[in-house]
């Protein structure tokens, strides 16, 4: 006997702070394991073209203050170059090519180029996961980083569409101080993230799906704090995320999520 397991939108009773809708956010574009590399321009554009509500992009800052879309701590982990983003200028990074897929010719891109070239960019939601691998960050670093973030959000008039994601309190407080209107999510352990979100009046928290429960989402929502989740790299995890009533799912299985939300 064969059972076909399906899960349609009609089976979900979504109740959240995002208009009772789970937004499908492409994790780094098309997600981990897709043939388009994470944070490649092609992956980002592909996710939006197939119907994502938005995209999560990992952001790092170069030595000369340019924001680039890149996940890893070292370039050699996934490109044909070596070194660390914060140690290099954009001129030194430009042209770095992602290692996979073979012959792909997908290159690291500046956040500015992404926003400049996304058609109808105001239609989408953007999570900017700010990654700071630089040790011993001083006040000048935070000032430069915040100015770069603010500059790009203002330049493309995306203050309503962008959520900035930080992991640590210092970054959150610095940006909140100078631009309280820029929306922020905090990415950390649930209890700590929730306390920071309450303390700084943030829009939401970002928690891995395996650390999340329906009750935790309910608790965050009761405090008027939205919940985004990630690590949804299987169909079951997509279904769990929807059942938990998260507000945003940074999914690695975008087509599946779109399908179950549409059906």
């Amino acid at each position: 006997m064969f059972f076909v397991v399906s899960c349609n939108k009609n089976e979900f009773d979504i109740n959240n702070l995002n208009g009772n809708k789970v937004s499908a956010i492409g994790h780094g574009g098309m997600g981990i394991g897709h043939s388009y590399p994470m944070n490649s321009f092609e992956g980002i554009l592909n996710s939006l073209s197939i119907g994502a509500d938005g995209v999560e992009i990992d952001i790092q800052m170069t030595k000369d203050g340019i924001l680039v879309a890149f996940h890893d701590g070292k370039l050699e982990e996934s490109t044909n170059r070596s070194g660390k983003i914060y140690d290099k200028t954009w001129a030194e990074i430009e042209g770095a090519r992602f290692s996979y897929p073979h012959y792909g010719n997908h290159k690291i891109i500046r956040l500015n180029d992404i926003f400049q070239n996304i058609p109808d960019r105001e239609k989408y939601t953007y999570f900017l996961d700010i990654k700071s691998f630089k040790p011993n960050k001083d006040s000048l670093y935070f000032e430069t980083l915040n100015n770069a973030i603010i500059d790009i959000i203002d330049r493309y008039e995306l203050v309503e569409q962008v959520y900035v994601e930080f992991k640590n309190e210092k970054s959150i407080s610095e940006l909140k101080l100078i631009r309280p209107d820029i929306k922020q999510f905090v990415y950390n352990d649930f209890d700590y993230a929730l306390s920071l979100a309450e303390q700084y009046n943030l829009q939401g928290i970002t928690i891995a799906i395996d650390k999340l429960t329906h009750e935790k989402v309910k608790l965050a929502h009761s405090k008027n704090i939205m919940v985004a989740t990630f690590n949804t790299h299987s169909h079951q995890r997509n279904i769990d995320a929807v059942k938990y009533n998260v507000d945003y799912n940074h999914t690695d299985r975008l087509k599946h999520l779109l399908k179950i939300l549409k059906d």
Partner: protein, 170 residues
């Protein structure tokens, strides 16, 4: 990695040398259609290969093929990446053969312009080498192969790689 390659090659060489030493060469089916997983096609390719007998147990072949990475581009339009492997191979052996090869991949692939976001085609050549083992009975139809197939992408990036081949000779 080097040790693994050596461990792979030693038994293949042994097979090739011992597999033919006691027998004489006979004519083989010279045309081969084969599917290659991995190899110069990246993730795979379909190929036609023509064998040419040389004196002794040597033979050479020329091969052309086709493969792809994706059929649809990032805008979801039908716009396939096109990969065309072209290689020259040398073989030594009767039924169990040592295989050496090199060639080029002509890759015509799609990427997003960082200037305007539109799909752009670009053609690049990538270099390929092969050393491995092939099984093909002189009068048989079945062709099987396993190879170490390192490549140089974009004329600068060396990559270890491998291939499995299954083919039909006629």
């Amino acid at each position: 990695m080097k040790l693994k390659v050596i461990h792979l090659l030693i038994p293949l060489l042994w097979l090739a040398i011992n597999g033919h030493a006691q027998t004489e060469k006979t004519a083989i089916n010279k045309n081969i259609i084969h599917a290659e997983a991995g190899g110069i096609g990246g993730y795979g390719s379909l190929n036609y290969e023509r064998m040419i007998d040389l004196p002794g147990l040597f033979s050479i072949s020329g091969r052309v093929g086709a493969g792809t990475i994706r059929i649809y581009d990032f805008t979801s339009a039908f716009n396939p990446d096109l990969l065309f492997p072209v290689t020259v191979n040398g073989f030594y052996g009767k039924e169990h053969k040592i295989h050496l090869g090199f060639g080029q991949l002509i890759a015509n692939t799609i990427h997003a312009s960082h200037q305007d976001g539109s799909p752009k085609r670009e053609t690049n050549l990538h270099t390929y080498f092969a050393i491995g083992y092939r099984y093909q009975k002189p009068s048989g139809r079945l062709v099987l192969g396993i190879s170490y197939t390192p490549m140089i992408e974009f004329k600068q990036n060396f990559r270890h790689w491998g291939a499995l081949t299954v083919g039909f000779a006629f």
